[in-house]
Symmetry: C2
């Protein structure tokens, strides 16, 4: 492979999980930026805010009072996009006006009783509790729902409207577009190559090293070869694991460890509480539990918007929405930057 | 069809142009918003700013001096994502590490010599000149390039870094993901139903009326049944037209007219210079010019981010990126709101 050409000239790269291409224009970072600058994240978040509906002991929009929780805390979203009892819109439809029933539940999960911590600043055992809860939810909601989406929107830039550390879990009666596409791609790859796509990928990346950000004996975090967002990463176990609830106690501890390390690097990159949306993809559940899903490999996607600094993000707009995703630095450049950052959190070394 | 259920309960709708589904959760607008508020657009843009590289007579980043133009003005992007001479990254590749050559050109086109106008505030004949230039560019660049993407990022919120009214035109040596997907969907529909997808769709919508925003004898602007963005619209001719350069003189005048009317409604919705990304999709060009492309119908997509006001946008984040697009009001509600707005621009009636 001609890696010099890769670094300095535009080219396309294939995303085998989505069957799409990304335009890599490495030279675009030279462009000056005169456009919109984001607000920097709030710096002084009180540990306990009596008006914050996510804090222990406070009252939420629906009048419920939160318990005085001291670890994770789970509740139903007060304004859910999915409800368990929506009616069927009917099925006698023109091919251009098709609708389908959608049912589900939306939960919110606080990571910690304090508002002024984030995952990288929490203790390893506290992060393990979060992972255990994720696993429990996939087990429980996945017993009937075909898809359980765990996701975290972090930072106001990512539409997160509350600074208290939390994630969401939306379970649905349907397999959403993104996992349906990923399922199709992983299945086809497995059939053709006899090995799960992401298992083969993890092995290759662990050998090549150039896109690795952090690794442990059980886990790997890389800027994927086909990354779209400037500092996007893919986090996955080295062992073949279908779902988050299949992780062993040791693997959960290893996961807490690598998450803390990856997110510390993210925070150190622009010395800010790094915004992102992240989420877990594992084999489908509910009716799919009895199917062969050996083409699947559990993984998390991290999609952070920042490009140049704590306040300048990458805009995925006109060309990206209408034609194709485009990035302004190579995945190898991004990985190298992240890899070389200190492992100590910037706020603790000051 | 059970339209009451559609209005008040969540359901899925099918997007036949992308073969994906969108989650419609009408009841989500009841949710209070405590999250990020955007900066309102600049209100006082000088007609001529001596430091703005897009104004007539000014010097650009590369030292070139703009002519004293009095209509549209076209130049090469000074920091292009696509260049005509990028080397081939080579082809002997592992299936998980595939790359391809990408070549092309990126042009910028100013709509008008003044910085303080936008398309809805320009004269109809001035908008016709923009359309003529678009047609010329598709003709010219499309003689060799398979895809010519015309797009406009409007407003700082959409990553637009210059308030002067302008769009971009990126021509590429490859068919990008979005048009490739749309091509596949339109072709399959045509084969199955014997009529172009969007031609049949336009007829149905013109009859149903509930999603129509503005219409003329030649053109139709609707909030599509499968709209993702809150006030997304689809603009298309009623006649079967493959590409923008196939439009007659009369159709171009009609297009200028409907664009002015649609964009006036957009500006009136929240009494602001409405941000959006928009772009044209027509039949592929270059080597595709000699193929049968009768499944295609020319159309423009408008993707505006605002949801609640001039400063509160819809965040397409965690669930949307990881699982599926989700909207907070129905397309019918959005169309009705837009349709009922006055046809006079809010700044001219004050
Ligand atoms: O070319 P511009 O306007 O400087 O840049 C804008 O549009 C491009 C094409 O959609 C995007 O890639 C950039 O992220 C965005 O900031
Ligand atoms: O549920 P939240 O955090 O209020 O809302 C946020 O995440 C949701 C799921 O990704 C999005 O649909 C919303 O647009 C966003 O503001």
């Amino acid at each position: 492979r001609n890696s010099v050409a890769h670094l300095t000239h535009q080219h396309l790269r294939y995303n085998p999980l989505r069957d799409t291409w990304v335009l890599v224009s490495a030279h675009r970072m030279k462009r000056p930026w005169a456009g919109q600058v984001e607000k920097a994240p709030e710096e002084h978040i009180p540990r306990h805010d009596p008006r914050n509906p996510l804090c222990p002991g406070n009252t939420r929009a629906n009048g419920e009072v939160n318990p005085d929780y001291d670890s994770t805390f789970l509740f139903e979203n007060d304004f859910p996009a999915l409800q368990p009892d929506a009616p069927d819109p009917g099925s006698d439809q023109h091919p251009l006006f098709q609708s389908k029933a959608a049912r589900g539940v939306c939960k919110v999960m606080c990571f910690h009783p304090w508002s002024d911590v984030t995952l990288p600043l929490m203790k390893r055992q506290e992060v393990v509790k979060v992972i255990d809860k994720w696993a429990e939810l996939v087990e429980e909601l996945g017993s009937t729902y075909p898809w359980v989406q765990i996701f975290e929107n972090k930072g106001a830039m990512m539409g997160c409207s509350n600074p208290h550390p939390h994630c969401q879990v939306w379970a649905s009666s349907f397999l959403p577009n993104e996992p349906a596409l990923s399922d199709r791609c992983q299945r086809a790859y497995h059939q053709k190559h006899g090995e799960p796509l992401l298992l083969q990928y993890a092995k290759q990346e662990a050998e090549k090293k150039e896109r690795v950000v952090v690794e442990t004996s059980d886990w790997l975090a890389v800027v994927p070869y086909w990354a779209t967002w400037p500092y996007q990463t893919l986090l996955l176990p080295r062992r073949h694991v279908l779902r988050i609830n299949d992780l062993t106690t040791e693997e959960r501890e290893g996961l807490a460890d690598i998450m803390k390390r990856l997110l510390t690097k993210y925070d150190n990159l622009f010395e800010t509480s790094f915004p992102y949306s992240m989420g877990w993809h594992g084999a489908p559940t509910g009716p799919h539990l009895t199917e062969d899903n050996s083409h699947w490999q559990l993984h998390a996607h991290y999609y952070p918007p920042l490009l140049r600094s704590a306040t300048v993000k990458k805009f995925m707009v006109g060309y990206e929405m209408l034609a194709q995703d485009q990035r302004d630095l190579t995945p190898e450049q991004a990985a190298e930057k992240l890899r070389n950052l200190p492992g100590e959190h910037h706020t603790t070394t000051k």
